[in-house]
């Protein structure tokens, strides 16, 4: 039984930990935007214009992509390993990272060993070297300085079909595809509900709804508990009545026999209700304790109040 319980608990713990690990991990990364023919677009640290593509972290936790792979060859999923140990491979929540497809990996972590011109599909592969997390077919009709990306960051297909992708109205390397000038929630509220009455009504409605639901649930559980309690007390009354009948039928000799049996039982097992009150005092070698010492003044020196003098 204990073994079964151990296996069950371990199983649950392992399952939970696996889900927790994969909840905010490399699987949250998405290929997000790419540009093949770069003539006047974004240039790299060395001043070159090369094709680029962007990865986007869809999660709300930091993801380390060190050890993952990028490739354009389905038969060689480990074509380019993203170096481990580079702090820049830790992608913050909802942020982008740009890779240069310049076939020049010696220029740094973010310069890979193939180009987009020679690629039909690009793949982002997990650090196990087998699991394809995301892939996208590279469109051949893309113009100069034109980019192809997800209409909304991270939203759309991961099977290469291009669902949710399109030619972008403007390029947005390392930033949001849908534009960065979105209003905050507070600004939207200021525009749509300047007096605050809509929010007030909505919020009070929600607070009341939540507590009304709770009220009904606990009314129901209260009814169940009360009826259960009543059943119990009815049964207890019946038991007391039955016990009363037994008491009436029990003779004095029987009581005496029970009392004697209990007395003998307690004597044999040395069970007793109260401890012996004998206090034993033994001599110790240590005759001095600072707690009662006057020189350490651990006790307050008695003083006389004015009216006692």
């Amino acid at each position: 039984m204990n073994k079964l319980r151990f296996i069950l608990v371990s199983g649950i713990a392992v399952t939970l930990s696996v889900f927790t690990l994969s909840a905010q991990s490399q699987s949250d990364m998405r290929l997000n935007e790419l540009l093949i023919h770069n003539e006047t677009n974004f240039e790299d640290d060395f001043g070159f214009h090369n094709g680029w593509f962007e990865l986007f972290n869809t999660s709300y936790g930091t993801v380390n992509i060190g050890g993952c792979f990028l490739t354009n060859d389905p038969n060689n999923l480990k074509k380019y390993i993203i170096p481990k140990g580079d702090v820049l491979t830790q992608i913050p929540p909802r942020q982008h990272i740009l890779f240069w497809a310049d076939n020049n990996p010696y220029h740094g972590t973010f310069h890979i060993n193939f180009t987009l011109e020679e690629s039909d599909t690009i793949y982002f592969v997990a650090s196990d070297g087998r699991t394809v997390i995301d892939k996208i077919a590279v469109p051949k009709n893309l113009g100069v300085d034109q980019s192809y990306g997800r209409i909304e960051d991270g939203i759309g297909s991961i099977d290469g079909s291009g669902e949710g992708w399109g030619i972008m109205p403007w390029t947005s390397p390392s930033t949001n595809n849908a534009g960065v000038d979105e209003e905050s929630k507070s600004q939207i509220m200021a525009r749509e509900d300047p007096g605050g009455w809509i929010l007030t009504m909505t919020a009070m409605l929600v607070v009341f709804s939540a507590l009304i639901i709770l009220c009904f649930i606990f009314k129901f559980t209260g009814h169940v508990a009360t009826s259960k309690q009543q059943k119990k007390s009815t049964a207890a009354t019946a038991d007391t009545e039955a016990a009363g009948t037994i008491v009436k039928e029990t003779s004095a000799e029987t009581y005496a026999a029970i009392a004697l049996a209990l007395h003998l039982f307690h004597e044999e097992t040395e069970a007793h209700d109260h401890e012996s009150l004998t206090i034993t005092m033994s001599h110790t070698d240590r005759s001095y304790s600072p707690w009662s010492s006057k020189i350490y003044t651990l006790r307050q020196t008695p003083t006389l109040k004015k009216n006692q003098r």
């Binding site: 905050s184 929630k185 507070s186 509220m189 200021a190 509900d193 300047p194 007096g195 605050g196 009455w197 929010l199 007030t200 909505t202 919020a203 009070m204 929600v206 607070v207 009341f208 709804s209 939540a210 507590l211 009304i212 639901i213 709770l214 009220c215 009904f216 649930i217 606990f218 009314k219 559980t221 209260g222 508990a225 009360t226 259960k228 309690q229």
Partner: protein, 378 residues
């Protein structure tokens, strides 16, 4: 050389950097400490906050890495729990572990009073908007009406970090002033006959019901307002620790040493954050006025709701409107106010037990309201 050193040292002292605004703030800190020690108004909060105000307003030479707003200083690190909002949920854990929800479970309709009293939050929100605050700032100010310090800090750290010091000090000050603010409003809104209403004694609550309460309560509220999970989750988790009967040690830690430590840290750092140059602004004055207003509206909402609710209740089931004020949270002070005001009119009518129902419902209600504000404005 020595003269030059002394001159340089003088520049580092508080005297050289002194401005009258710092002295004003130090005086406010001293008043807090006086009220806490002499009047015993929320001493657990006002002593750390008061002393924190004094610490935070010692004039400093900038760049010594000692001020609360200086990156990496000890106070700045302790303040992190306020900025990132992880102190308030820990306090809620302790509150959950020390709260007995029996009064609420035995009479669930009292939950609605806790909902009605949240009117204070949204009343202050609309007035703050009219005064020119942004919706996010108005939401953070409005939450003062929830009469819940940790919730106020949690929400203001998300919606209006710049106003957090003033909001926190205002929330805690008015919580301490509950016995002063509420009774006149309660008396004004009720008739003598209503004040004498005797409520049915609460039925005994079974241990199973007590165990079910935190689980069901959390599931319902969290599914409706997921943005309130940090507060609601910790509140109900703490209560489950208390009621489960098998985690006594954890419950004792949560309601004892843990909540004490976090209260010390939150009180001290919130006090420190009221540095004169950041705190003494016209906005802070508005926040204090709006805070008082929100407490009054919340009390009004709770009492008036009971009066209206009574119209639909049978004679034997009527609720004494003097417990309406307890819906504003501020556990257990507002419930104590209900008891004291009730005793003024009938020496044998003890309302404390009944008032604890809306009181703890107010805690749930204000956490739900904070979640809503965070969802709409965060």
């Amino acid at each position: 050389m020595i003269g030059e050193n002394l001159r340089q040292f003088w520049q580092y002292t508080g005297f050289a950097n002194f401005e009258w605004t710092y002295l004003l703030m130090i005086c406010i800190g001293l008043v807090f400490i006086y009220l806490a020690i002499k009047k015993e108004w929320e001493p657990m909060l006002l002593v750390p906050i008061g002393f924190g105000i004094i610490i935070g307003n010692i004039p400093l030479f900038p760049g010594l890495s000692v001020g609360i707003y200086e990156e990496g200083s000890v106070l700045n690190i302790l303040y992190y729990g306020v900025i990132k909002g992880f102190y308030p949920p820990l306090i809620f854990l302790g509150i959950g572990a020390m709260t007995d929800f029996s009064a609420l479970i035995s009479n669930p309709k009292l939950l609605l009073i806790g909902a009605a009293a949240q009117l204070g939050i949204f009343g202050a929100y609309t007035v703050a908007l009219a005064l020119g605050f942004s919706p996010a700032e108005a939401g953070a100010i409005g939450i003062i009406g929830g009469a819940d310090g940790p919730t106020a800090i949690f929400l203001s750290s998300r919606l209006a970090p710049d106003l957090m010091g003033a909001i926190a000090v205002s929330a805690y000050s008015y919580m301490a002033l509950v016995p002063v603010i509420q009774p006149p409003i309660m008396k004004l809104l009720t008739t003598k006959k209503e004040r004498l209403i005797r409520m049915k004694p609460p039925r005994p609550v079974s241990p199973t019901e007590k165990k079910l309460f935190p689980i069901i309560g959390f599931l319902v509220t969290a599914f409706i307002v997921p943005s309130g999970i940090p507060l609601l989750g910790m509140l109900f988790f703490g209560n489950l620790l208390k009621e489960s009967g098998v985690t006594r040690r954890l419950a004792e830690t949560a309601r004892g040493p843990l909540i004490d430590i976090v209260t010390i840290l939150i009180g001290l750092t919130v006090g420190c954050s009221t540095q004169a140059d950041k705190f003494l602004q016209l906005k802070s004055v508005y926040i204090f006025i709006l805070g008082a207003f929100s407490f009054m509206v919340a009390t009004f909402g709770g009492v008036m709701f009971v009066k209206i609710f009574n119209l639909f209740l049978k004679p034997g089931n009527k609720i004494n409107p003097l417990i309406g004020n307890a819906g504003v949270s501020a556990v257990p002070d507002s419930a104590r106010v209900s008891q004291l005001v009730g005793l003024q009119y009938d020496k044998t009518n003890h309302l404390l037990m009944h008032a604890m129902g809306p009181n703890v419902a107010g805690v749930i209600g204000s956490a739900v309201a904070a979640g809503i504000l965070l969802g709409f404005l965060g």
